[in-house]
């Protein structure tokens, strides 16, 4: 109670006309208005207003098209299946690596989170190279070896899309459940043993029910991500005419060549996508508010590990095979195809060349795309981090009237699919409001900032919550003014959180495709867009080579981040 009113107290004590706090509050509101409120309002306006009049026609028109309906159905079907299989896989491996005596737990646990780092569209590319219905390497090899007339496996199907998305999204559940299992008080399970339950019964009746909140939180994250996902269905679905709502929106825009009519149709489709995601979000709200048990208590004791006995080695092998399939195979595939002279040639050393790399690293378009992505990722990182921290400070410490609105506005864009956000940004900043950023890097930057603001806002909020008001007050009683106490105490204390907030934005921004693919212009391709277009133009080896460069970049940057955050101090 006392904490809640501390900053207000200080403001009252100071009684200044325009304090630092007021300036920050006003700034936060204005920035969110520009970055978040305007684009979203533009979508709603364009979807429901025609020539200044309110109408449902546009939506109804879309809803009566079979293509729209099938895209919606595909979106929901893929989302549902990915969530189902991703959850099963995540829970199974979380339990195996969290609670059994399987060897190499620690290493495997970090290996299992690798898919989380890589862009799913690169994985989709790799699997397409392997299992494409017509030209996949593995398919052709199997057809030759077993004398088959048609490809035995086809990745360009709904199931193929589900498979690739599962392998990239299961870590959401895996990581949630592993940490829940880790923090669970072991006496909860021990008391069930004392009550007479056997090991297996304990897992079924106590352990699993207790991690249900963690499972559902992770599962809903998968659902929302998959519903809004663009890369995998774009790469695997287009050739077979399998569309989801995000890819349909992209198709409508690219077919219309940027005409206003196309964008209006896209806006209407966006509303439908938002409705689907909003339903999932409502579900999430409901699930998350209903539960959350307090299972972390008491003295810390290591949990009893379950002896797998005879199943230990087979399960270990299963885990290794899974890792190989979801992590190693796509990576190796991308690297190898990046080396091959021409797409389709067998992957043997005789066909290998570095020409693809020389070509992409000497083509100005490709180099520009790397440069663009770096510029965008760094500036989006810095700007969102600063802005997120500012908003977090206003929300956590100043708590003006309307704090709730501020909080919702800053988190909102992340729940909105990237495709939709891109449409909003196009509608807002390509001249209709007097400012035209279309075909410049600025428009992509604005979209990135909106998209990633919530990341830094969350990390900075968490850090600020740890900075007890008494730390700033102690500085005040030591003779520091409000500005000085901010500069000397608060900012240094949350600096580590700000740095990790920066990287949390920088990394996904480096590999972003969903929004940039709708916003890029002739000179503003990003790394993701360039890989996508090379592939689209049939230049598979070059796309793979650029993909390899992206992967190496991601690995290097991750290593740097880990080195930086490993020895951080402060809060």
């Amino acid at each position: 109670m006392i904490n809640l009113r501390r900053n207000k107290d200080l403001a009252a004590v100071e009684g200044r006309r325009i304090g630092l706090d007021n300036v920050m509050t006003a700034l936060a509101f204005v920035l969110l208005l520009v970055i978040v409120v305007i684009p979203i309002s533009m979508i709603i306006y364009n979807a429901f207003f025609h020539e200044g009049k309110f109408t449902f026609n546009l939506i109804v028109e879309q809803l009566t098209r079979s293509t729209t309906l099938s895209s919606m159905w595909n979106t929901i079907k893929i989302g549902g299946l990915v969530t189902l299989f991703g959850t099963i896989m995540g829970v199974f491996y979380a339990w195996l690596l969290g609670r059994s005596n399987i060897p190499g737990k620690k290493l495997m646990r970090s290996l299992f989170t690798i898919p989380y780092m890589f862009p799913p569209f690169l994985g989709a590319m790799a699997w397409d190279l392997l299992l494409n219905g017509r030209s996949g390497y593995l398919n052709r090899w199997m057809m030759q070896t077993f004398n088959l007339s048609s490809a035995p496996l086809n990745i360009n199907t709904i199931w193929g899309i589900v498979f690739v998305e599962v392998s990239y999204y299961f870590p959401f559940v895996f990581m949630q459940v592993v940490s829940a299992l880790e923090r669970m008080d072991p006496t909860l399970e021990e008391s069930a043993r004392i009550a007479g339950a056997k090991q297996g019964t304990v897992i079924r009746t106590i352990t699993l029910p207790l991690v249900v909140p963690a499972i559902s939180a992770g599962a809903l994250l998968i659902l929302i991500s998959s519903l809004a996902h663009f890369g995998v269905p774009a790469i695997l679905g287009f050739s077979q005419g399998i569309f989801t709502l995000p890819t349909r929106i992209f198709a409508v825009i690219s077919r219309s060549g940027g005409s206003f009519e196309g964008i209006r149709q896209a806006a209407a489709l966006s509303i439908l996508l938002v409705v689907v995601v909003a339903l999932a979000l409502l579900l999430q709200r409901k699930v998350l508010s209903s539960g959350g048990y307090d299972i972390i208590k008491g003295k810390s004791m290591r949990p009893t590990l379950i002896n797998l006995r005879g199943a230990r080695i087979p399960l270990f092998i299963l885990a290794l095979v899974t890792l190989a399939v979801i992590v190693m195979v796509p990576l190796i595939m991308i690297f190898l195809v990046g080396l091959v002279r021409a797409y389709g040639l067998p992957l043997i050393p005789a066909n290998f060349t570095l020409a693809n790399y020389t070509r992409i690293l000497t083509t100005s378009g490709t180099l520009d795309s790397i440069k663009n992505s770096l510029i965008l990722a760094i500036s989006a990182g810095i700007i969102s981090m600063t802005l997120g921290t500012l908003i977090a400070y206003v929300v956590q410490k100043i708590k003006p009237r309307g704090t709730g609105v501020l909080e919702i506005l800053s988190v909102l864009p992340y729940s909105i699919p990237g495709t939709v956000l891109a449409i909003g940004v196009i509608l807002a900043w390509s001249g209709s409001l007097g400012i035209n950023l279309y075909n410049t890097l600025w428009i992509i930057l604005v979209a990135y900032i909106a998209r990633y603001l919530s990341f830094s806002m969350k990390t900075s909020s968490a850090a600020l919550l740890q900075v007890h008001p008494s730390l700033e007050e102690a500085a005040r009683t030591c003779g520091a003014t409000h500005t000085e106490s901010l500069k000397d105490i608060t900012l240094p204390l949350i600096r580590p959180a700000m740095i990790s907030g920066f990287f949390l934005i920088f990394l996904p921004a480096m590999r972003e495709v969903t929004t940039s693919v709708l916003l890029y212009g002739p000179y503003t391709r990003t790394l993701g867009v360039q890989i996508y277009s090379l592939r689209d133009a049939g230049m598979m080896p070059q796309a793979a080579a650029l993909g390899s460069v992206a992967i190496v970049l991601i690995i290097v940057i991750n290593a740097i981040v880990n080195a930086i955050t490993a020895d951080r101090k402060g809060v």
Binding site: L10, V13, L471, E473, R476, T477, G479
Partner: protein, 361 residues
Amino acid sequence: MAYVRFENISVSYGDNQVLKNFSLSLEKNEIMCLVGPSGCGKTTLVRCLLGLTRPDEGEIYVDDKCLFSSKRRINVPAERRGIGIVFQDYAVWPHLTVKDNVAYPMRKQRMKKNEIDRRVKDVLKQVSMSEYINHLPGQLSGGQQQRVAIARALMSSDDLIVLDEPITNLDAKLRDQMLNEIRDIQRNIGTTIFYITHDQKAALHLGDQLAIMNGRGELVQIGSDEDIILRPKSRFIFEFIGVTNFIPLKLVNSEYKLDLGREMIPWPEQVPDTMAHGKPIEMGTRPNDITFDDASPIKAKVKRAVFLGSEYDYFIELGNMEIRLQQSTLDAALVGVAKEGSEVGLRFLNPHYYEAKRREA
């Protein structure tokens, strides 16, 4: 004239009036402990003194300098009050070394660098933290962080420091040790200390003067530890300090009798005249001020006897009441132990008399 003066301070948060016309004075060079149950407004008072909360009304003076006056519209900002504070959670800045933590107030006073260095060394020696000068707070124990906080507070001011429940987070053994150290530091430097706590034990241990507040934010007694313990002014204080038993006394034919429900037993002690206004009174006694005495006419039954090592803890049925009695190891060795279910005679030593509490429905 007193060194620190709170005059008629009133503070409210919304509809909640925390302090009303509260006045308190501290003499120079003494340790004043302000004791009260949590939520009684003592922390609010400290925040008013420091300039972190603005009182609605009243005046605050330190050494004749007015820090706050609602009438005269004076409100010196927090950073210019020059009062040292040790917060409950120490509020030692985790990103600064011990040296930088302690030097901070002087840097804000724009003191010269070698002067700062000299004084930091001096004060760290005072709190026996010299060898930790370059440590970060994360590398220190709770007690050591506390010492850094005290050193920093002393740098803000050698004249007046405020400690707001600074030892609640420490374990019992360290608590006693810290209290002794605070005492020693105060003796060496002669600082005036305003110590806020809800823990009577710590206050008794440390304070030259104790000011006791009740849950409604009112001051109920100010005095030395001896005053509070041996001459508690009110029933509230008597109960606040420790476990108590109360037995009603009734005036029958101008003689006081113990009212045990079913029977009345003549009360052998003299009841002070100040109490005799015809109002119902109660005799208050502590568990270790009752002894077994077979010759006593006051008979009771031992309901439960629990051996706790340092003492026997008895639950005694006296008439329609259950009272508690503690027998020290010494008495147990000298007089012997009473068995559960046995009949005993009781003698009340050192009784206190208070107006009976109104029985609330």
